[in-house]
């Protein structure tokens, strides 16, 4: 497989628009999350503009909520950097896993695409890659759609205040989990993959209980990857003709 499989990886407008369209249903929920963030940010003392800027520039929900916990008359800088890095360190591994798909793009397109990589467009892009799709529009198109939804949600939140105060009441907090789980189940190609996944699950739980906060995703992902490295090379990723 190696070199030839992504030889004609490409990024174009049609693929990007298609990625935006495929992400649209999930964007409705992202707007709700953004709204919750906007409300929480203003309650926490950020100005409207600061809340919007954070959503636009950081674009990483969990770490933004965590930053609110640190916000006060003074912001502890080291803690802010450490928590932002720890929560977002999974991006390092997610990006690495897409590298074989993106490597033939011009570096500028590659690094631009990464600036909008988030959990859900990554999961859908990784699925495209697994199925042999060469057009990388899902990553950037889905990312742009999520970014717009996140920004719009934040704007609604800072403008209209306390709309949804208890998102868990309506099951909103589990949406992301269900979405990611459906991607995971849909992407399973063989039963042997359950071995590294079990290792990842156990390692993540160990990290939740005994390692520093927010380390579980990285610990679990690395443990799963190492376990997968030890498997025999039966991995045949048959790629469908094209799409």
């Amino acid at each position: 497989m190696g070199h030839s499989r992504s030889a004609d990886a490409r990024l174009d407008l049609a693929g990007t628009l298609d990625g935006m369209r495929r992400m649209a249903p999930l964007c409705l929920f992202v707007i709700a999350f953004g709204l919750a963030f906007g409300v929480a940010a203003v309650q926490r003392g950020l100005s409207e503009l600061e809340a919007l800027l954070m959503s636009a520039l950081v674009f990483a929900g969990a770490s933004q909520f965590a930053a609110l916990e640190l916000w006060g008359p003074e912001i502890p800088l080291v803690a802010l950097i450490a928590s932002t890095f720890a929560i977002n360190a999974r991006h390092l591994l997610m990006g690495a896993s897409l590298y074989p798909w993106l490597r033939d793009l011009p570096p500028r397109q590659r690094y631009l695409s990464m600036s909008v990589m988030s959990d859900s467009n990554w999961a859908m892009a990784a699925d495209d890659y697994r199925r042999g799709v060469r057009n990388v529009g899902m990553l950037i198109g889905g990312g742009i759609a999520l970014w717009l939804a996140w920004l719009l949600g934040t704007l609604l939140g800072v403008l209209f205040g306390s709309g949804i105060t208890e998102p868990e009441r309506y099951g909103l907090d589990v949406i992301m989990g269900c979405f990611l789980l459906s991607m995971l189940v849909g992407g399973a190609r063989s039963l042997t993959i359950l071995i590294p996944w079990s290792v990842a699950a156990i390692a993540a739980l160990i990290a939740v209980y005994w390692l520093p906060p927010h380390s579980h995703v990285v610990v679990g992902a690395l443990a799963g990857g190492l376990a997968g490295m030890g498997l025999p090379t039966e991995k045949k990723r048959d790629r469908e003709p094209t799409s």
Partner: protein, 104 residues
């Protein structure tokens, strides 16, 4: 080391967060572009990419309430049965909302 939450201080904090986050987003492909990808590295990447999701979801199921657990279970069942992510997610959200509505 702390920043005062003056307008300038808050802006600086946001810019620092943005920079740290972008470094995590771009760092993965930056590192991968500098190491050769043999079969071992490829196996590592393939197993790792699903493992990221497993590591995000497992603690939700273990530390979450029964609403979250039922939602995740419904998602797996519907996904395996229909292969349609939207149905699966819808079933999950419905389960969580119903559970929390009925069992306050």
């Amino acid at each position: 080391m702390t920043l005062a939450t003056s307008p300038g201080g808050a802006l600086l904090a946001i810019l620092i967060m943005a920079l740290v986050t972008y470094l995590t987003r771009s760092g993965g492909i930056l590192v991968m572009s500098r190491i050769p990808i043999g079969p071992r590295v490829e196996r590592f990447i393939n197993a790792m990419s699903g493992s990221v999701l497993v590591a995000v979801i497992t603690p939700m199921a273990v530390t979450g309430d029964w609403g979250a657990r039922l939602a995740l279970l419904a998602t797996v069942v519907v996904m395996l049965a229909t292969r349609k992510p939207l149905f699966a997610i819808g079933a999950g959200i419905l389960c969580a909302a119903l559970w929390r509505f009925l069992m306050p």
